[in-house]
Each structure stands twice: as structure tokens, then as C-alpha cells.
Subunit: 384 residues, 2 copies
């Protein structure tokens, strides 16, 4: 039985220590307490304080972008990035059907419509080649803007997701963006520590988004960041996420509708300590992925997913793919592993299967459908 | 010179210790370290963990509401409360012109329009009697809904603010709501610890909002809460603020467009420790207010603002009002005090003076204008 074989193989990699093994847990082995305590002692736990600045500059240094703006979570970062890229109500944004719901929700927060795109098997992310062919059919560039000739709406942007940490194929995607006058925003929520052709994800579009939720490679409790190589956009991101208040010693003047999306200093303090350990976390996560890869090599009916040739992935969330003829076993595998001390989960419900997005425009989604029917996430914490 | 007289009077209450005196600083004198350290040690810093539940139940106990839902900040709580009260795009919501910008922004996030209301001098908040008269002129109830006959839009709700912690006159306001079929949502962001006729603010409308920003009476770094006495609304608030995901061991199914507005556990840990000290903070803040009241009693040209007769206020942010004939001194007082080691600030820029809201519908705002021309906030931290 495949379910018990998969369970046994994971157990071979992760010996039984008498408690359930979570999908992803944070590891606080560095300066977390020192920095958080320092933050408490300073009383600057909120909007003012050194850790937000430090965290932002550490993020920019690590990823290689010009500016990082720390915000309250990845969803807020997505919302702001879409707004900053010029997405307006009634427009469409191309997003993968296979993603966490925040990607599509953020488009909806702008009053825009997610337009759902299929995945490719080698990255699990958006398929640039098929997207190109699809846009040739349904889109035209008119007065410098991409128009969906079927709906009459402007398609403003593409929001690819580096799914489970594996980079999408960015170069052909950038070519699609040039050809169809689309803004590129990278949803790098899952890909801190993942590189495409030697350069960190988040450097390739107009803006990008990170998440530091509790299940991510590093955590701030809840948190996220907007990344950009355009310093004007970076300044505007800071302004918009801090209620659009103009600097003044005592006056409260806000020059537009802004947001309360800044990251509190106490969460940034945690983030600084976590980021210091990122290289170590990444090494451990790669080693765990290699152990899984080895262990699953001989197992029939299932494959451990490995990074695309052009990428160095963070292996945020490890992925098993059942063979096509074993897709019927998916529920049994999930049940058996969860019942026997190993947390696993399937792909997120595809966006067009959710009530909120079932009527959104979409291309043929057969690859995403196929992947979602066979995909299993297995425990991935760096300390494993 | 009034400016130097005011400065000297504040100095008499707050002796010079060689450093600038802030407007409001948090005080961490309780279990902050212990709870935050415990939270880090548990590794449950994010969405899962006991402190969020504990904080919510402590908030409900203290305020006397049936349910409190902790969220990422007061702005998010306002946004969700308006949505839960049924505010829809194209509708209007009555808000005071004299408030922090988040009140009006949250209305805009719903696609609705703030409709600006004047203040009354005895509370600094929305004036129920004048609102009643104004609505008699411009509004009609049609098919059970309040319609602005001038704009043709539905007026869905009233969002009074308990300004600087002082409760608005809620009973006559509730009468206005009954008469005109308006939902009442209390912006109690500033009034944790403030009571109206013996009952805590936040109990009088359909929903209410708290804030735990760094400058508030208690802080979680950044945080807020939705309060309600309607358990169905409370459950829906929790659901909407946690991505509208249905509970399941492994599936990700979201039944509507949700939000990532939950408070991280590490911020809730801080909140629990702070809330334990609230009675002590409130006592100290009242004592400080009494010292100011005494000290300013003999000073001509300026009055220390005290709580309305029907209220017991938290004195979150202390208020001086210049006499009408001294309004021309406002800028000089602000400059002199800020230049000489005492942080002060004026009222927020009135909403109709901000570009985003200058074209919003509004009643005559002469009381708010008058107050904003004479109002000065002075240092208010509980440890002073």
C-alpha cells in the first residue's frame, strides 16, 4: 500500500521521537531573545525603533534589492505592491491557479480580477510559454496597454508565485511582460533564500513580496516585506504603508488614502535574529531535501520534487508527487500520514474551485489540476 | 506670554529630568518579559498559540462584551467592523471630522464615503443633537434604510470616536440610530478603560474597535480588537480576519474573500501582560490629569479639558484648550513647548482639510473647526 510505504519512507528520514512532526516550525536558536528583550527594554516596540530599519537594510543586503519595506504580513505586501504597480479597479491581474489564497485576495482588495494561469510541471509555478500562447489568443496591446479582448478589461500585471520556494522561469516570463506591456510583480512569499540564475528571487520585476509568517523559512510572528529596485517606488511604499503622513514635528497631514501596514519594532527585532540564521537554515533545509530525495529514489509510485535546473531553491516546503496512475491514493496518503504522527497536506484548493474566484477569467488549467491531484507537502522545518 | 506660561505650568507638573518628555510612552513593568519569553520558548509566535485566546478573553472580561477578536491593528478592526455591519461600496458612513485619519480611511477601504459630522465641546466627539437636526434636513428612511436625499446614497452607519478617551454622549446617539435606521459602530481605539454611565465604551453599538498601538494606554507593539455583543458577528469576525478558511485537518478551503488580520501570538503575549496592569495605568493617568487640572486652574487663557459628567474617562491623551481669543497663539505654544523639551501636538488635521476627503459630504463643522484651532495635547504617559 502506497500510503504506508510513503509513511515509512518519511519515518526513515525523520525518526519517531514520540510526538507529531509538524509541517514547518520556526527555530529560535540565535539572538531572538536578546533582541526582543532589548526592544522591550527600550520601550520602542511599535512604529519607532531601530529594528525595523535594521531588518529592512538586512533584507535589502541579503536579497540584493535596492530597498526593502517591512510590513505587517505578506498579504499587505501583495496589496501594496499591486497598488504601487498601478493596478486599478476593474482591471485584471494574471495569477497562478495553484497558490495560497492571499495572492488572489490581494488582487480583489484592489477591486481588480484575478485572471487564472496554468502551471508548468518543472517549477510548479506559472508557465510562461503557455501564458504567451494564451495571450496571443485573447489579448492585444492597445495604446501601450494590454487589453483582454474577450472581457474588454485591461490586464495590468502578472503576479507569479515561486511555489513552495521553487522559482518560476523568470526570463521567458519577462519576455511575455515586454511583449504584452505587463507589470511583473513577484510573489516571493515562499522563496526567501531562493535564487534564479544566481540572482535572488524578487529582483526581476517592478516589485516583489516576502512573507515571514510562522510557517515560513524565517518568521517575525507575522510580517512581510515589499522589495523593489526602484527607489521612488520604495519611498512611496514606505509612505503608503505608514498612513501617507507627511513628516512634521507635530502636524498630522496625510496626502492620500494610506494604510496602517508597518511592521511593529518588536516583530522586526525577532526578524533580525532570524535573518542572521538564514544561511544556516537554508543549508539544513537543503540537507533535509537531499535526504528525502535519496530515500524516495527507490519508491515506486511517488517522486520527490527537486529544484528546476536554473534555480537554487530554499526548499521551503518539500513536495512529493504521486505518479499519475496513483492520484487516486492522495486522500489515503494524507489520512494515513496525519493519523500516524506525520503532518502532511495537499496543494491549496485551486483558485477557480473557491466560491470567490470561480467566475474569474482563466486559461486551461489542466497542468495545475493534474499537479493538485497528486501533490503532497511533507515536514520541512530546518531543525529536522 | 501664554506659550511660556503653559510651558512653565507643564514643567511644574512634570519636573525637568534633562530629557524630552514624550506625548505617550508605554510602560513595561509587569509580566511582559515572562510572557514574551514563554511565547518564544514555545515557538508558537504566529497564528497558533495560547496568548491570542487569553488576550481575547481578558479583553472581553474587562470591557464586558461577549466577544473580542484580536487583530493586527485598530485600522484593520475598523475595516472589518464596517464590513461586518454591512457597509457596501457607494454607501455613506457618518464619521466625525475631528479624528485620526484611520477612521475615515477604513470607510474608504469599504468603497464607501465618509460623511463628516461636527463635534460638541463637552465631549470633543460627535454631537448627537446637531446630527439629529442635520439628518432631519438631509435624510429620509426609505424601505427601512437611511437615504441621503441630497446624494441619493444610503447612509449605512455612524462611527463615533471617543476622542482622546472621552466618551461621546451615547444615549442620544443611539436614539438617532433608531430613528434613522443606522448601524452604530464605536471607534473606541482611544478609550480602553473609559466608561459611559458605568458601562465600558464599546458595548453600545453593533460592533466596536480598540487599538493597542505604541502610543495607546496599553500596547501590543501594533494591534487592535473587534468587540461585539453579537456572538454570530464575533464568529464571523474571527473567520473573516483569518482568511475565511474553513476548519479542516489538511485542506485549504476559503468560503469567501477573507483577510490576513489576525494578531500574532507574540504581540498577544505582550498584550496579556499589559492588560494585567491596566487598572494601575488608569489610576496613574487620572492622577496625572488631576495634577494638570490643578496646575492650570489659575492660568488665564487656557483650560485643562475634563471628562464629561456622564463619563469616567481613561484620560488617554490630555487636552488643553486655549480660550477663543487666544487661538492665534496655538502655533507659538506648539513651537515653544516642543523646542523646550515638552512634546505637544495640535488636533489632527480635520478630515475635510485632507485631499482624500475634501469632497466628502459634510454638515457645518464650525465646532470642530473652533476646537481644532485651540486644542493642544500634552504629555500623558501613565508613568509621569
Amino acid at each position: 500500500m502506497l500510503a504506508s510505504k510513503i509513511h515509512a519512507t518519511i519515518r526513515q528520514v525523520l525518526p519517531d521521537k514520540g510526538e507529531d512532526i509538524a509541517l514547518h516550525e520556526p527555530c529560535f536558536g540565535g539572538n531572538e531573545w536578546a533582541y526582543v528583550k532589548d526592544c522591550l527594554d527600550s520601550t520602542y516596540v511599535s512604529s519607532i525603533g531601530q529594528y525595523v530599519d535594521k531588518f529592512e537594510s538586512m533584507l535589502a543586503d541579503y536579497t540584493g534589492v535596492k530597498q526593502a519595506v517591512a510590513v505587517v504580513n505578506g498579504t499587505a505586501a501583495l496589496h501594496m505592491s499591486l497598488k504601487l504597480a498601478g493596478v486599478k479597479p476593474g482591471e485584471e491581474v494574471l495569477v497562478p491557479a495553484l497558490t495560497f489564497v492571499a495572492t488572489a485576495n490581494a488582487v480583489a482588495y484592489c477591486g481588480a480580477l484575478p485572471h487564472l494561469v496554468d502551471s508548468e510541471a518543472k517549477t510548479l509555478g506559472l508557465d510562461p510559454k503557455r501564458l504567451h500562447g494564451y495571450l496571443e489568443e485573447i489579448a492585444q496591446v492597445r495604446r501601450g496597454e494590454c487589453v483582454n479582448v474577450k472581457s474588454g478589461r485591461i490586464i495590468r500585471a502578472v503576479l507569479p508565485v515561486h511555489t513552495y520556494g521553487h522559482p518560476v522561469d523568470l526570463e521567458p516570463l519577462m519576455e511575455v511582460c515586454r511583449r504584452f506591456h505587463l507589470e511583473l510583480i513577484e510573489d516571493a512569499a515562499e522563496s526567501l533564500g531562493s535564487f534564479y540564475k544566481g540572482r535572488h528571487t524578487g529582483n526581476w520585476g517592478k516589485l516583489a513580496v516576502l512573507s515571514f509568517n510562522g510557517n515560513k523559512t524565517i518568521t517575525t510572528g507575522g510580517g512581510g516585506a515589499i522589495l523593489t529596485n526602484d527607489e521612488n517606488l520604495g519611498q512611496l511604499a514606505k509612505h503608503l504603508t505608514t498612513t501617507a503622513k507627511l513628516p512634521h514635528r507635530w502636524e498630522f497631514f496625510h496626502d492620500q488614502i494610506g494604510y496602517n501596514y508597518r511592521l511593529p519594532n518588536i516583530n522586526a527585532a525577532l526578524g533580525c535574529a532570524q535573518l542572521e540564521q538564514l544561511p544556516d537554515f537554508l543549508e539544513k533545509k537543503r540537507a533535509l531535501a537531499r535526504r528525502y530525495e535519496e530515500a524516495f529514489r527507490g519508491i515506486e509510485g511517488v517522486t520527490f520534487f527537486t529544484e528546476p535546473a536554473f534555480a537554487r531553491s530554499n526548499y521551503w516546503m518539500n513536495v512529493l508527487l504521486l505518479d499519475a496512475n496513483q492520484a487516486g491514493e492522495l486522500q489515503r496518503v494524507l489520512e494515513f500520514t496525519n493519523d500516524h504522527g506525520i503532518k502532511t497536506r495537499p496543494a491549496w484548493t485551486l483558485m477557480h474551485r473557491l466560491p470567490a474566484f470561480q467566475d474569474c477569467p482563466r486559461m486551461d488549467l489542466s497542468v495545475a489540476e493534474d499537479l493538485a491531484g497528486r501533490l503532497i507537502n511533507i515536514p520541512s522545518s530546518s531543525q529536522l
